[in-house]
């Protein structure tokens, strides 16, 4: 490593590493060395790595020379001529950066702080981009790693590839004014750039903004250049939010002056939008964690700044954020907190919501008497129409349950809390309990609540935990503490919430030897993780691996023996059903089960489930998968009916017969449909041959399915042809005038179903923001994986992927947007509009191929971008869709391909199950 006075001969890039002083003293060396190592690992070798370290604030401290001395010695030991250490008199960040700029010898210069990690190709990728374009600045992405290990891109808007003449061509870049992840032409920036503000907070922003405004070209690349770790707070108050707020506002005011001087009006507007949408929510959210005095100070700092902005830009904000901003402007601290809980905690609602002049409004105390701000009335600020809150069904409602206190006394768990009962759930609940609920939605144990109605409603749990009869705790399980309410026969489950700084952190004994650790979770929820998983599992863990494996093997053998013995018993008139891998009560199996229950109630039905049994109807017996009961039921059943695949361990006996159904009708090719093209390691999408051989009958809903899909599956057995019990049920449900009410869907909006094989198209929050007041969105993924919608969408989006009411949702959708989903043809029978999402369809087509060419078939437009989708939906909502004139013919044609679904379908299939004969053939 060279000393202060001997830089390497002109390197291409100087990487300036400044010590941010962020870590504890013990980790400063680690931070520095990690960053330096990432710089040394760059694929670009011709570098200078310039480490600028500030002297410690207390030079008399015993450890004053410790860090610098240690770092210096460690760097010297690396023996890399590219390294240079410069010591600066102060630790001021601006001064360190300025010193780095002055000392740098490279043609180009990058900056980072100790603790950052440069990605291996960062310097070279940026260098090649700016050399190619002649730009003065190269911009790449910065990744931020938060305390939970989750990575996100820092202000990624505008970071798609491009060579810009000026930042005015892409104002969104102004959101990213961090110096990390950028490359600057050193001579130019030293001469023309604004330099780093010394002695002031956030000094790099002046520099980057000034560079943007004066650069003769900006090269943007989509690669990631830098990974920055967010500093984890080690405890409450570790981040001084008040000081941060004041510093941020000061920096914004400073850079606003710069922008006013050198920028255009579009840049100024974009800057305001970015501050309101990206920055301010962070500080408003912090008010949930700090005490009232600190929150007041934060609010004062931001209020003054916000009032200087053009607040018409607030129209782009999500409703909850807009409400929080309004309360900030009028100085209502509790109002801010209430709105931010809605924004941060999965759209929990604490205020009454009313209809006013055809809009839904957040009916807090300011609705009638609140002042206008910059000519914008209170009703404008408090408008939540896009969230579609009114009319949400019981199981979709999101009351805010606040946990105030929790403790244990022996085996008794005592918890108190309050709820703003906006939806009057607690008032109407026939049963209320506090429950330990797993991530997958399974309840382990619960305690009944004592409820005192009022404003807010107070509740208390004070008893030992009561276990669900068949609950099993897996080691490593986790979940949340939830309030479970039964209202009008439906369940509402919502996690209890508490700010992270006040969340209880304690072990809780649940009984049965199970101990969980309670602590803060995501979205302000109270979360738990298993510490000890109970006597049974402890026994397994105590024994050796061989013993455990042996016991497991014996257990499996015992189950197999039991199921074999069961075959010796007389065959029973039992039909075993399963749908969606035991996760729901839906599809063809459900339709068949319902018909059988009406026509032949004497036939016993068994439904298997994985986690939840609530959806299984009363006429059937519920058995949990993997249990002895499940094995016995399958062994003795005459028929198995499923739309999925059974576990491999289930042996099929001679008297068991399998009726295989399909979820929807596939559009994408399955395996051998691709003309026998052999490929190594291809992704098989069809079931393996041994699986297909176990099917006795296959339900084929259409001629298309029989001609194209069945050969691809390699199935050569009997078909129950042209029969679609599910399709018939959908058509019948479409005529039900009370369907929407039953599903809790708003009666005054059109329903749009986004049913896709992959991810839903485009930007869902953007869709909601544009059409959310006129349309309600349903999202369904063929993968079967449900994802909670972005809370900013409020109640205007519902994920119905794994819903038991899927039939109803399909039936009541007024239009569908699809990329080739398996449900396309079932929906086509309704002869309603179908729009094709082309990027998803083309991806499906290229990766797997498709049986059908959808662009020629769908009764609706093909959209290529999220913007086109919004335009198409808006036109459709306005009644002027401008669609192809042959739409009715297309709809009819696609419906024909989907196959008939006459009401007798289900009866015909049920007859097969009853008699065991298909069209006069076969035997029972």
């Amino acid at each position: 490593m060279s000393g202060e006075s001997a830089p390497v001969s002109r390197p291409d890039v100087t990487i300036v590493v400044v010590t941010a002083g962020r870590g504890q003293r013990a980790t400063l060396e680690e931070d520095v060395l990690r960053t330096v190592d990432s710089a040394r690992m760059q694929t670009l070798y011709n570098l200078e790595i310039l480490l600028v370290m500030g002297r410690e604030a207390d030079p008399d401290s015993a450890s004053a020379s410790g860090s610098q001395g240690l770092v210096g010695r460690r760097l010297a030991a690396l023996d890399d001529q590219r390294l240079r250490l410069v010591q600066h008199e102060t630790t001021d960040l601006g001064a360190l950066l300025s010193r780095g700029l002055a000392e740098a010898a490279g043609t180009w210069i990058m900056f980072c702080q100790s603790g950052d990690r440069l990605r291996r190709h960062a310097a070279k990728s940026l260098l090649l981009a700016v050399e190619h374009s002649g730009a003065d600045i190269g911009c790449a992405l910065t990744e931020v790693l938060d305390a939970d290990g989750i990575r996100r891109h820092w202000r990624a808007q505008g970071h798609h590839r491009g060579d810009l003449d000026s930042v005015a061509e892409r104002p969104e870049l102004l959101a990213d004014v961090q110096v990390a992840g950028k490359l600057f032409r050193r001579d130019w920036v030293a001469e023309h750039g604004p330099g780093f503000a010394e002695g002031l907070p956030f000094p790099e922003e002046d520099f980057v903004l000034g560079a943007y405004l004066s650069a003769r070209g900006i090269s943007v690349i989509p690669q990631r250049a830098c990974v920055r770790e967010e500093m984890p707070p080690s405890g409450p108050g570790d981040w001084d939010w008040v000081r941060l707020s004041r510093d941020r506002v000061q920096a914004l005011v400073r850079t606003d002056v710069q922008l006013d001087r050198g920028g255009t009006s579009s840049l100024v507007s974009e800057r305001i939008r970015s501050v309101l949408a990206d920055e301010l929510p962070v500080y408003l959210g912090a008010m949930l964690e700090v005490d009232d005095a600190s929150a007041q100070a934060i609010a004062q700092a931001w209020q003054a700044y916000a009032l200087t902005c053009d607040l018409a830009q607030a129209a782009c904000l999500a409703p909850a954020l807009r409400i929080a901003l309004y309360h900030l402007l009028i100085g209502d601290l509790e109002g801010i907190r209430s709105a931010m809980r809605c924004d941060r905690w999965s759209a929990v609602i604490e205020a009454p919501i009313r209809n006013q002049d055809g809009r839904q409004v957040w009916a807090c105390e300011h609705l009638r008497t609140g002042p206008s701000v910059q000519g914008l009335e209170a009703a404008w600020w408090l408008d939540v129409t896009a969230m579609a809150i009114i009319g949400a069904p019981v199981d979709e409602s999101r009351p805010c349950h606040l946990l105030l206190d929790a403790r244990t006394v022996g085996r008794t768990f005592i918890a108190t809390g309050t709820t703003e009962d906006t939806f009057s759930l607690l008032a109407r609940a026939s049963h209320a309990s506090l429950a330990i609920v797993c991530e997958e939605g399974r309840t382990l144990c619960s305690i009944p609540l004592q409820v005192v109605l009022g404003e807010p409603v107070a509740w208390k749990a004070d008893a030992p935990w009561i276990w669900e009869s068949d609950a099993v705790v897996d080691p490593g399980a986790s979940g949340t503490l939830q309030l479970v309410l039964r209202v009008d026969g439906r369940l509402n489950r919502m996690p209890v919430r508490t700010p992270a700084s006040r969340a209880p952190r304690m072990p809780v004994r649940l009984g049965r030897g199970v101990v969980v650790s309670l602590g803060p979770g995501r979205d302000g929820s109270a979360a738990w993780t298993v510490v000890r998983s109970g006597w049974g599992w402890r026994t397994w863990r105590l024994s050796s691996g061989v013993m455990a494996g042996l016991a497991s093997l014996l257990h499996r053998q015992a189950l197999m023996l039991a199921s074999r013995l069961a075959t010796a018993l007389p065959a029973r008139s039992v039909i075993a059903f399963e749908a969606f891998e035991g996760r729901a009560f839906t599809g063809h199996p459900r339709a068949l089960s319902e018909v059988l229950s009406q026509e032949r109630p004497d036939i016993r039905q068994v439904w298997s489930y994985v986690d939840r049994a609530e959806h299984i109807p009363a006429w059937a017996r519920a058995v949990r998968q993997g249990t002895l009961r499940h094995r016995l039921a399958l062994s003795s059943a005459r028929w198995w009916v499923s739309d999925g695949t059974p576990p491999q361990v289930i042996r099929k006996h001679a008297r068991n017969r399998w009726l295989q159904t399909w979820r929807g009708q596939p559009i994408a090719c399955l395996g051998s449909a691709e003309l026998d093209a052999p490929m190594t390691r291809r992704v098989e999408r069809r079931p393996p041959a041994w699986q297909v051989r176990r099917w006795d009958l296959l339900l084929s809903p259409s001629q298309y399915f029989s001609d194209d899909v069945v050969p691809a599956l390699g199935f050569t057995g009997d078909l129950v042809g042209q029969a679609s019990p599910f399709g018939a049920a959908v058509l019948a449900a479409a005529d039900d005038p009370r369907l929407r009410e039953r599903l809790g869907l708003p009666p005054d909006r059109r329903i749009v179903l986004l049913a896709t094989s992959g991810e839903p198209p485009g930007d869902i929050p953007g869709l909601v923001a544009t059409i959310g007041s006129r349309a309600f969105l349903l999202v369904a993924r063929d993968s079967g994986i449900s994802r909670a919608p972005d809370p900013s969408c409020g109640f205007a989006v519902r994920d119905v992927t794994a819903s038991d009411d899927w039939l109803g949702y399909l039936a009541c959708a007024d239009a569908m947007v699809t990329d080739g989903s398996v449900w396309t043809l079932d929906y086509a029978r309704l002869c309603r509009p179908i729009m094709l999402w082309e990027p998803g369809y083309q991806s499906l087509r290229r990766v797997h191929g498709t049986f059908l060419s959808l662009p020629d078939l769908v009764p609706g437009p093909t959209v290529r971008t999220p913007a086109e989708l919004i335009v198409a939906l808006e036109r459709w909502l306005e009644g002027e869709p401008n669609w192809p004139s042959d739409l009715p013919q297309r709809a009819a044609s696609l419906a024909r391909i989907a196959g008939p679904a006459e009401p007798s379908s289900a009866r015909r299939c049920a007859q097969v199950l009853i008699t065991g004969r298909v069209d006069g053939r076969g035997s029972s």
């Binding site: 990631r224 093209a677 190594t680 290229r846």
Partner: protein
């Protein structure tokens, strides 16, 4: 700053492939690039992991060295993921052989690296990248390390279908550059976390001075007789063409050149079929292409097909399936050729009919096609290679 590329001449370049003997697209590119770089002063060694029984006599002429790391074919990859596989003695023996062969190949390769100063290794296939992972390429922080350019000769869709994507992400992430065939693929792989993705087209080794005659009434197929190249699709399309477009097809013939495991079946399939001729492999691909005026490329899967580029360089009107980004990079529907649906004989028949019906259209498409592939001329591709090598050496 010195002219990029020139300063690097004299450097060692090792080009790795699974085998360097076969007549295949990858092998042709390997030898073309090797010869070109050697001609520009680089010290080139071409190394195949294993030999191939049919050694095609590539014109090395002493310009560069050719090595084979193993003396016999690599044992097949075995599936040993399940317990019963692990307990099966024959599987265990095969696994042992395979690992042993890999170690041996890695050892030979390491000797090759250690025999001289460090330079650049171009790993043309994923298997070679995985082999490189077993070698010591020097301290990544040092200027004396070997630079690595990884290549992938197929598209993202093919990588997803075949499971190669995960292999590429694991093996190529730390390479100095990861070269795909098209800008579209480079962006797609970059979006999948490979920040070092760039793109490099395959070179056309010969540039015909004269184009083909658009008046010729021959449709040419040139490729291997395997399902992936779609000869069955073409034969079915031809039948549809004769039936649905008899006037257009009047006087035209389809000539198929190639070889492969399905050759006998293809010959049987065309027996009795009007105006189809099946011929064997040709030593003069440009010559046979020049006899026709239309190229039919019915492939189900491709990377950047050389035969398509060669046909376009001759000014042929090309009818190709939209099966990869490489095809899309070359053929713009209605401008430089005709794109048809993959695996769809009817679509292919309609595309062929469109170009067969009009001499003027063939002429226009051919002229635009020739202009499009001008950038793939060997000298230009070599210039780009030199720029890439200079960039990785920085």
């Amino acid at each position: 700053m010195s002219q990029p590329g020139v300063a690097g001449r004299g450097r060692r370049v090792v080009i790795l492939a699974n085998n360097v003997d076969e007549v295949g697209g990858v092998q042709r590119v390997v030898h073309a690039v090797a010869g070109g770089l050697a001609g520009r002063g680089y010290a080139v060694t071409v190394a195949g992991i294993f030999p191939h029984e049919d050694r095609h006599p590539y014109p090395v002429a002493g310009a560069y060295e050719v090595e084979r790391l193993l003396s016999r074919r690599m044992p097949p990859v075995v599936d040993a993921t399940r317990i019963r596989h692990k307990l099966d003695p024959s599987v265990r023996r095969q696994l042992r052989d395979w690992r042993g062969a890999k170690r041996q190949a890695a050892g030979r390769l390491q000797s090759l690296f250690d025999a001289g100063p460090s330079g650049i290794v171009i790993a043309t296939q994923l298997g070679t990248m995985e082999l490189l992972g077993m070698c010591d390429l020097g301290d990544p922080r040092s200027d004396e390390r070997w630079r690595v350019v990884a290549q992938y000769h197929s598209s993202l869709e093919a990588a997803v279908r075949s499971g190669d994507l995960a292999r590429a992400q694991a093996a190529c992430r730390d390479a100095d550059a990861f070269a795909l065939l098209t800008a579209e693929d480079a962006d797609a792989f970059m979006a999948r976390g490979l920040d070092n993705a760039t793109w490099m087209e395959n070179p056309l080794q010969a540039w015909p001075e004269k184009g083909a005659e658009p008046e010729s009434r021959i449709v040419t197929f040139l490729g291997r007789y395997t399902p992936l190249k779609g000869p069955d699709v073409l034969i079915n399309a031809w039948r549809i063409l004769l039936e649905d477009f008899p006037d257009v097809a009047q006087g035209w013939s389809l000539v198929m050149h190639g070889s492969g495991p399905d050759e006998d079946r293809i010959r049987e399939a065309v027996r009795g079929c009007d105006r189809i001729e099946v011929r064997g492999v040709t030593a003069d691909p440009l010559g046979v292409l020049a006899e026709g005026s239309v190229l039919a490329m019915p492939s189900l899967e491709e990377g950047m097909p050389l035969v398509l580029a060669e046909a376009m360089s001759l000014g042929l009107a090309c009818v190709a399936t939209n099966c990869s980004s490489g095809v899309r990079a070359l053929v713009e529907d209605g401008v430089t050729g005709v794109l048809v649906e993959r695996g769809d004989p009817a679509s292919l028949a309609a595309g062929l009919a469109r170009v067969m019906a009009s001499t003027e259209l063939r002429s226009d498409l051919g002229a635009a096609a020739r202009l499009r592939v001008d950038r793939m001329r060997q000298a230009r591709i070599l210039d780009r290679w030199e720029q890439l090598l200079a960039a990785v050496m920085r």
